[in-house]
């Protein structure tokens, strides 16, 4: 091989560089395609549940939110008492950007009847990880043009990073393989999307969390939430916005104030169980300070389902398409520095 | 004093400090050639040399020693 390349050092170098780059590109393409194939052959785990949410589910009732959505809404309670099909699209550690993207993908396929959006008290603060964790939906970038706008929030270079076929599956090889259908041929219980928590927390007094003053409301999140609610209203989906029980107390939360303004814009009521004593006084219903365990989730779900059954679903919607409140209304957004 | 004689006497001091009887120092000998030549033995060696020849080095001179030859030549100048 060495003898073949003669001539000037410049030529030699250029050939070498060319070989090197083509090796990387070929390897990237090959590995990337294998990862992609295997990614969509998973039969359990959070990526699998995201695929179900974006590409498969046809359920009447969808649950959106982060961990408190994923672990607090028990499918059987809703299917039994409301006679609807159920899917939980919640994902640990995700933010309103993710909910927005998943809903966009779903609305390309069908219109669900009802949506529960579980909003954590910290949900609307600016946090870098909310952007970084959008990596969870990079595998869908190629086939879902509707979510690309959301992904650009992650970084303005994302479009160029996607030139690599491996990049969307970065860090996932281990979970892709361990959740592959070869290892889990039969359904694993992830089909409803719900993930129960099983342990109980030790009894402890309720903590009060005050937010550090440098925590700011994120205008991008306000916009994403506005988009999400606007989509629901526009498509005639009955939307329930819920704050689930937590063992932490957040007084004077500007995130809540911002939320209230958006909900007000669309006349959506907030069902607030965050400070509901029937939960926070009973530590045995929690797994940790911000998550109910399965027992707690069953009780909480029936409370929610009963209230949903009473609420007049039918007369809802159409009237709220108000656009008179500007999203960037400085009334609730603190200017960035 | 002859440089060779200085080398010989310094060599004896080295043997004593490093507890090695087969050390032979040359002009180019430096810390990396002798096992155990560290800051502690270096200063022990310098004070022993100062005492033996009844001279005193300046701070700058000590810091600029690169090898045994540097030191021996300086000893010769100081004695001379």
């Amino acid at each position: 091989m060495n003898d073949m390349i003669t001539g000037s050092p410049v030529r030699r170098f250029l050939i070498k560089a060319l070989i090197f780059i083509s090796m990387i590109m070929a390897g990237d393409l090959l590995t990337g395609s294998i990862l992609r194939t295997f990614y969509f052959q998973q039969t359990e785990g959070s990526s699998y549940r995201t695929t179900l949410a974006m590409e498969k589910t046809q359920a009447d009732l969808l649950i959106f939110g982060s961990s408190s959505a994923l672990h607090h809404y028990v499918p059987k309670v809703f299917t039994d008492s409301l006679a609807v099909s159920y899917f939980n699209a919640g994902r640990d550690g995700q933010s309103v950007f993710y909910f927005d993207a998943v809903l966009r993908a779903i609305l390309k396929r069908y219109i669900p009847r009802m949506i529960i959006l579980d909003i954590h008290p910290k949900q609307l603060f600016r946090m870098q990880e909310s952007y970084d964790r959008l990596s969870a939906i990079l595998p869908y970038y190629r086939n879902h043009p509707e979510i690309r706008e959301v992904i650009t929030l992650k970084s303005r270079f994302e479009k160029y990073k996607m030139l690599s076929s491996i990049y969307p599956f970065n860090s996932q090889i281990f979970s892709i393989l361990s959740s592959h259908r070869m290892l889990h041929p039969t359904p694993h219980g992830d089909e409803s999307g719900y993930v129960p928590l099983r342990r109980s927390m030790m009894a402890q007094p309720r903590d009060t969390i005050t937010f550090r003053p440098e925590m700011k409301i994120d205008p991008n999140k306000i916009e994403a939430l506005d988009q999400f609610i606007g989509n629901c209203v526009q498509k005639g989906i009955k939307l329930y916005v819920i704050q689930s029980p937590g063992h932490w107390h957040y007084p004077d939360n500007i995130s809540d104030t911002a939320l209230a303004i958006i909900l007000g814009k669309y006349s959506v009521e907030l069902w607030d169980y965050a400070d509901d004593p029937q939960f926070y006084t009973r530590t045995e219903l929690f797994q940790d300070l911000s998550h109910l365990n399965h027992d707690g989730a069953v009780i909480f779900s029936s409370v929610v389902a009963q209230r949903m059954a009473i609420e007049p679903v039918a007369e809802y919607v159409k009237k709220h398409r108000a656009s008179d409140v500007s999203v960037s209304d400085p009334g609730y957004i603190r200017p960035n520095d | 004093m002859e440089l060779a004689e200085i080398f010989k006497q310094v060599n004896e001091i080295f043997k004593d400090i490093f507890e090695e009887d087969d050390i032979v120092i040359e002009a180019e000998t430096s810390a990396k050639d002798i096992d155990g030549w560290d800051s502690l033995t270096h200063m022990q060696m310098i004070t022993a040399v100062e005492k033996h020849f009844k001279i005193k080095f300046e701070l700058n001179e000590i810091l600029n020693f690169k090898n045994a030859g540097d030191m021996c030549r300086l000893i010769q100048t100081k004695l001379g």
Partner: protein
């Protein structure tokens, strides 16, 4: 701008092409401007700080050389040192000093209340002030000439590859390189890019992956078992090594592509047989700096104190090394631990050597070596707990919880993070052993065929793409 940012991926090739297109006499301007851009990417006013350091040190060195008398020379040195250290202290240590004075006077019943300053630490200030100080001391000692060429001196301190995280390059090594004419050399480009790839591997695949686990554990110390805290502490030692040496390798690689040689900063420190040896292999540009400009002068001056002079020198040196890392007592403690052990090692060196001579069987000798190696590593791990823990109390809590040896399960976080982290470490350690001892030097690793060597580095790039950590998207979701 950080090396592991997408911006750098665009910046770097552009700078290299510009560099080789620029004629020699204008390269200083090109390098300085791109360095200023690199720095101003964080904040523009950082550039003003470094420019004032550059001017002061440039002038003081020339002044020292011109003044014939001993006094003028001393004054010029003192002035530059006061300005360098003063500026560094103002930005880095003011609040720390204020806190300590406030609480000291509180103890005396006086209310001092020095207010806090809200200043941002200028990028790389700890690195370039130390380089400037070293340069001035060298000129003072007469071991190098003052640089008259201001553009070149400017380039020396601004040079962007070493701006953020070193190495703390010596003027006597770097200034001559700036004077010499650098021509396009493909060998440099080759080896530079290889160094960079290896550096990115260490930083993105090993260090940043471990970081996810360590943060999940150190963020909730109370909740974790003895074995988990111990594991996290060991991992942290590897993290800091992979992070820092990876960053240095990228810096050296970037410089090499442009034809410059920056000094080696790490030489497989975890293979050291003693703490003293560790510090000759760890952050060499800092430890040798401290050796040349703090330790040696103190010990030489206090040579009549005998061992006490050495103890005094070791303590001062490691106090400075410790607090150089950051304004906190934990860093001071980190340094003092090193000082104590190194002093002990100096005192017992001869007896330990005699002991080792008595070991005749190669098996026992090997065992002895390995156990001292592990002991050294464990000590470093222990001292680095003070590096990572935010407060003294946190560090003590970690140590005391480790020391209970209570049974408890090992927290894995997410299994993939744990597996990636350890595979990265194993790979790194094997590579280090190979470099140190030349073991498993066969076939694939150092092949005579160019194609195989290229394949090796392209595989490394693919691994980085596959399991490197590019942002905070990877996380351990923490539920108790």
């Amino acid at each position: 701008m950080l090396f592991n940012s997408f911006e750098f991926l665009l910046f770097f090739p552009a700078v290299v092409v510009l560099f080789y297109l620029t004629p020699h006499r204008w390269r200083w301007l090109m390098v300085s401007l791109s360095s200023a851009f690199f720095m101003a990417f964080a904040r523009l006013d950082f550039v003003l700080v470094i420019l004032s350091i550059i001017m002061v040190n440039y002038l003081s060195a020339i002044l020292m050389e011109r003044s014939a008398g001993c006094y003028g020379k001393k004054w010029a040195l003192a002035a530059s040192l006061i300005l360098d250290i003063g500026l560094l202290s103002y930005f880095k240590y003011f609040n720390f000093l204020a806190d300590n004075f406030n609480s000291l006077f509180d103890l005396l019943g006086l209310n001092l209340d020095i207010p806090h300053l809200s200043v941002v630490l200028p990028l790389g200030i700890s690195f370039y002030t130390f380089q400037a100080i070293g340069y001035n001391i060298e000129v003072y000692r007469g071991s190098m000439k003052a640089e008259r060429n201001l553009p070149l001196f400017l380039t020396y301190l601004l040079f962007f590859p070493k701006l953020i995280a070193g190495p703390i390059e010596r003027a006597q090594n770097f200034l001559p390189q700036l004077h010499s004419r650098i021509s396009l050399n493909f060998h440099n480009i080759n080896s530079g890019i290889k160094l960079m790839i290896w550096g990115f591997f260490k930083k993105l695949v090993v260090a940043d992956r471990i970081d996810i686990y360590v943060n999940a554990v150190y963020g909730n110390i109370e909740q974790h078992s003895s074995i988990t805290l111990f594991t996290a502490s060991v991992l942290f030692a590897f993290q800091i090594y992979a992070d820092f040496s990876g960053y240095t390798d990228i810096a050296r690689g970037v410089a090499r592509v442009m034809g410059f040689r920056l000094m080696e900063n790490f030489e497989r420190p975890f293979l050291a047989l003693s703490v003293s040896e560790f510090w000759r292999r760890w952050h060499i540009s800092l430890s040798s700096w401290a050796d040349d400009y703090i330790f040696k002068p103190i010990v030489a001056q206090k040579r009549y104190w005998g061992n006490w002079g050495v103890l005094y020198g070791v303590i001062i040196t490691f106090f400075v090394i410790g607090i150089w890392h950051g304004p906190s007592w934990n860093f001071v403690l980190f340094g003092l631990f090193q000082a104590v052990v190194i002093f002990y090692e100096l005192l017992t060196k001869k007896s330990r050597k005699r002991f080792r001579k008595k070991l005749t069987s190669p098996l026992i000798k090997g065992l002895h070596n390995h156990s001292t190696r592990i002991l050294t590593f464990l000590f470093i791990t222990f001292s680095m707990v003070f590096f990572k823990a935010p407060t003294f109390d946190d560090a003590m809590m970690i140590l005391s919880r480790v020391a209970t040896f209570e049974t408890g399960t090992l927290f894995l976080g997410s299994l993939s993070t744990f597996v990636f982290a350890w595979s990265g470490i194993v790979f790194l350690v094997l590579a280090e052993i190979r470099r140190e001892y030349g073991w498993f030097d066969f076939g694939f690793l150092s092949n005579k065929y160019m194609l195989v060597r290229l394949l090796k580095y392209s595989l490394l790039v693919l691994i980085i793409l596959m399991i490197g950590v590019f942002d905070g998207g990877q996380f351990i979701y923490f539920q108790f």
